[in-house]
Structure formats: C-alpha cells, structure tokens
Symmetry: C2
Subunit: 371 residues, 2 copies
Amino acid sequence: MRCDHQSSRSFQSAFLFSALLAGLLGSVVMAEAQEFKDLQKPKSPLLLKAQGSFFVGGEKVVQTEAELGSVGPAGHISINQMYVRYMVPEAGDSNVPVVMIHGATLTGKSWETTPDGRMGWDEYFVRRGHPVYVPDQVSRGRSGFNQAVFDNVRGGTAQPGVQPPFLRFSDEVVWPNFRFGPNQGVPYPDEQFPVAAVDELAMQSVPDMNRGLPIPNPNFKTLSDLAIQLKGAVLMGHSQGGIFPVGAALTDSTGIKGMVLVEPGSCPATYTDRQIATLATIPLLVVFGDHLGDTPSGIPGHSWQTAFDGCKAFISRVKAAGGKAQMLHPPDHGIRGNSHMIMQDKNNLQIADLILKWIDENVGKSKLSNK
Amino acid sequence: MRCDHQSSRSFQSAFLFSALLAGLLGSVVMAEAQEFKDLQKPKSPLLLKAQGSFFVGGEKVVQTEAELGSVGPAGHISINQMYVRYMVPEAGDSNVPVVMIHGATLTGKSWETTPDGRMGWDEYFVRRGHPVYVPDQVSRGRSGFNQAVFDNVRGGTAQPGVQPPFLRFSDEVVWPNFRFGPNQGVPYPDEQFPVAAVDELAMQSVPDMNRGLPIPNPNFKTLSDLAIQLKGAVLMGHSQGGIFPVGAALTDSTGIKGMVLVEPGSCPATYTDRQIATLATIPLLVVFGDHLGDTPSGIPGHSWQTAFDGCKAFISRVKAAGGKAQMLHPPDHGIRGNSHMIMQDKNNLQIADLILKWIDENVGKSKLSNK
C-alpha cells in the first residue's frame, strides 16, 4: 500500500506539471508498486553448501542509562560491528569469494532481488560458483549505529549541532543523479534501469549517518579483516562504498585478491606513490555506466563525468606502478543505457558476466590462500 | 577484533570483581568473539526454489532539504516500508509460509545463524518444507526509519525533546532479562543459551525508535498485508514483536492462518470480547522458556512470570471463545534451561520441532488459500 501524505499536495502538483511537460518531450513512466507476484522465480533451483550471517569487527563501549534511551541500567554495548550475510554454492566454494559493499543511504539490499523482481548479483555470482558475502556498512541497516549522541541531545546534555545529519536522497535527486533520465519521470530512450519500479528503489533507502563515523572509517579495517577471514576475497564496492575496497587494501591488503569499483563517487588523486605501489599489487577493475555527462547530476558540485575522468587517471597511476588495472565502460562494448544502479539494471546479468570474466582472467578461478 | 574503550576501565574492574565473586558461587563464562571458522556448515546442501528480498507497505512523504540531511534538493522519500527476506524450499512451496518477526532493539538477524554459528530457525523451517519470510520491523535495520525529526532538531527547527529515544539494552540488562543466569557472567546450571557467544548477540542490537512510530503501529497492517500477499501464512513474533501477530490479525485476519507468540513481552488483558472472538478464529500458540521467575528481569517493572501468567489468561479467554489456543512451556515436557532467545538456544532445533508439530496439527501441512 503506497499513498501520499497531505503535505505533499503542492509537490504533487509541481510533479504533475513537470510530468505533463515531459510528456511533450519524451516518454513518461509512471512508477508502480511491486506486488509480491512480481518476484520472478529462477528456472532452476539454487543449491547452497551453506548460507547465513555473522558479524565482523565491533568494539565494546560503556554508555549511560540516558545514552541507551533510558530503557534500563547503564552498561556495555557493541558498536561499529558489520553485519554480513553469505551464500556458499554447493559446487563452488573453491572459487574466490566476492564481497559486495553497497553505497550511500542504501544497505546490502542493493545486491539482492532487483526493484522489478529479477535475480540480484548476490544470487547470480553464487550461481556462477562464487561464495558471496553481502555486508551492511558499519552504521547502516543491520549493522546498527552508535545512538548515544542522539539520546544525549534529546536529554539536553549535548547541543543539537553535535548530532551528525541523517542523509537521505529524495526521488527528485535520485532520478538525475542515478542517471535514469534527463528529467524527473522521463527516462533516457535507451535507459536500462527498470524505471517502472523506481519506487521500489526508493524503499531501499535508509538514513545514512556516515558523517558521524570515526576517522579512519571503521568499514576499511572491518572489510580487510573480513577478506583475511575468508582467506582471500574480491572486494566489490558501489558508489559511496565504491572506494571502500581501496580503503580496505590500504589498511591491510593481505586478504584482498581483487578490487572492483562500481560507479565510485570519486577516485581521489591524493593517494601517495607509496599507496599506489601497494594498490598496484592487487588487480583493479573500475566500472561506469552510460550517460555520464548527459544531465547535471542533481547534487550541486557533483559530476559523474568528473568521477569517470578521475578514475581513468587513477587507473593510469596504478598501471604506471606495474598494476593490472582497467576501466569497464559498457558503451565501449556497444552496451548502452546503463545507470548508476547498474547491478539492478535490466541487463544486470550481462554486466555481471563481464565482471566475472575479468575475475576469472585477473584474479583466478581458484580461491587463493593467504600469503 | 573486539576491544574495550578506555572509558570502560572502571566498568571492567567492577565486572571482574563480580566475575571473581561469581566464580566462588557458580561457573563463570568468559565471552569470546566468534571467528568466521566457527560458522558450522550443515551436513547436507540447501535446495531452494527461490530466495531474495522485497518490501511491503511504505508511503511517500515530502521532506525539506534540511530534513533530508542537506545532501540535495527537497522532495519525496519513502517511509514506513518493511524489508522482507525470503527463502522458498525446492520441495515445499505447497506448505504454509512462516513469517518470523524479531523483537526490540533487534532485526531479522535474530532468526538467522545463531551467535555460536549454528543453523537459525529461518533455514531450519525451510529445510522442514516451509517458505520462510524474515522482515525487519518498520523503523529498524534494512527497513529504515523516518529521520526528519532528528535532522530538524539538528538544524534548530525542532526542540530536542521531540526526538524519540533510540533504545538499546546494555549487556548488563540483557543477561538477567534474557534469563541467561542469576548474575552477569554467571549462567544457570542448565542454561541453554550459548553464553560463550553472548558478545555475538550484543552485535545483533541496533537502535530502536519504536516510540517514534505512528499509532497504530504500521507493522500491524504491513504484516497483515504480507500474509494476504502470501495467500495465507503463520505469523511468528518474538518478545516486543511477540504480540505483532495479534496486532496484525486484529487489523485484517484474512491471510493469517496461525499465530505463534514466542516470549511476548506481554499478552494484554485489554482486548474486547469482540477482538477475542476474531482471534479465536486463528490457531494460537504461545511459547515461553524456563527460569521465568528465578531472577529479577533487570528492567524495572518488568517480570517474565507476570508476562507468562498474563498469556495463560489470554489463552483461556481465546479458548473460552471457541479458539484453538495453547501454551508451549518446554519445562512441562522435561526440557529445562531455555532462555528468552529460545530460537538461538543450544536446543533451538528441538524447540523448533515442537512448533513445527503444532503447525502441522493445527494449521495444516498444506498452504491454505484465502477465503
């Protein structure tokens, strides 16, 4: 059941007007809520050696009764742990594991069933023989977050300004920023994102308090620890999490056998030559979809074309240091219309095949042991 | 990697002292962090017809740029949706689906791999032929929550006191309240919870803002909608979510073919005779573990013995109205030592078998169609 609040009336009017206007310019897609019946069952069953979930990282802190929401006595809680869900294929646990890290305001759900009910990359990579590990970033989703500052502000023992913001992207930001089309409700003619199900993507969003995380970001060490526990893994990150494989590798590269950066928000130019030398020991793939410069991104100061260009420069530096690094840009292969949510696009399995081929050729088919 | 903050030193000393004291009185268990290698692989593979995730419910609201954390323009977001993960066994999708709803400060993780790495009820019920659906409560985990009030307080447009509290239970609350033993770190001699892995349970905790939810609780309609979409399901709730099957049934009982209340916080005496008459049309099982009155619960004003007695009275009312309702109290079957986290206890599959038997006998082996 979806419905609009009364307070949204004026916004609706504005939306309807722009939709009408857009109708004169291109095709307008009206979003529809997914029904359970829309979930598509695969043609063959999934055979798993194991599945489940566990935690990595975490630390104990002591908090006051007020910091705990006054629901019982003060004491210890765990913060900064990372929830990880996993599936191990019956036939393939000798293949290299793949860890899939989501982006801003999202959770591990990004990699699961697509908004229009098709198979996600989590299951597809398992069916292609790889154990798959899907975390929620520290501070998001089932990993939880440190609530103390919010309860202190509520209780008057901290000033409101010390609360980190909870970030959410409006639908109006998502449409241009995720490159669904040139105007809200209007897809690009070759758009691959299943825009009729865009409201299902909106439901994947959770409040993001990354700006309240400690420095260094605990996700980096947690991910490098996870890779070591797995005795070698490919880390694949998306969007705001796109650079996390690099952050993890610069924390401890021991377990990291490959880095796949899917539409990273940026590839910083500030890495030192020594850091680049470390990164050059690990195969690197960067993936960007289509329409990178066709429309302003919707977030002031952000440009996907700039991110793409920065990542090409990053790849060049890694290669100059002797690394195996490359860009996967589907338009170069004649594949057009991919969005920022490329793992959910209508041709998501076609893109997955290109990444799987890269893993086979650059990381190896077999699980690698630790040094 | 787990470590204690410096600020916890004095607390540690107190803990060590009480642990030493407890050592004179009973067995002391030192908690250990789970290692990935602790995850136990099942003896036979899991064969799934389908698995994945989707959302139920949700509504669109319009929020200001500040309410969205000032990360982009104002606009629409989705709130009050419910994330649901599912697994459908290859052989058994004609059996009645089971929906497993977690309790306070927790997520759907409650039902997954146990803290000491054994199979959770989610997989076990699938292996016993039932499609299983595991939600995160609206406002928790991957379902997200409405962050607007927090960002308004941060921005100074709302007073701190309007923020709902984020609830967490300290380890010191959990031990007696979840009935692991009489004193922190000291288990009951027959304790069934895997207390050596208690720190893994601590990592399952996320901030709980249930007190900020609208009234009526959106979980009730969302769960009754889910049961209808599934064309009939058993709703099983735990602890704070223990009464949710009843709340869902009183919202719309159409899809609800059975209610299993696992250690509900309470069974209210305030239902009207008309409400009881509705509930009497649905088979009802209430499950409580052991040591209900042996130790104060750790939360002022709360008593598990009182909850148990209240649920016995509730069962009597439902039966008097012609319903099939019963209490499953393992000590009555000679099974001792079960905790509040009964789905994670060392004998969790033994308890699951008793619930599965009740479903077979009272709901039926076959999936039921809607009226």
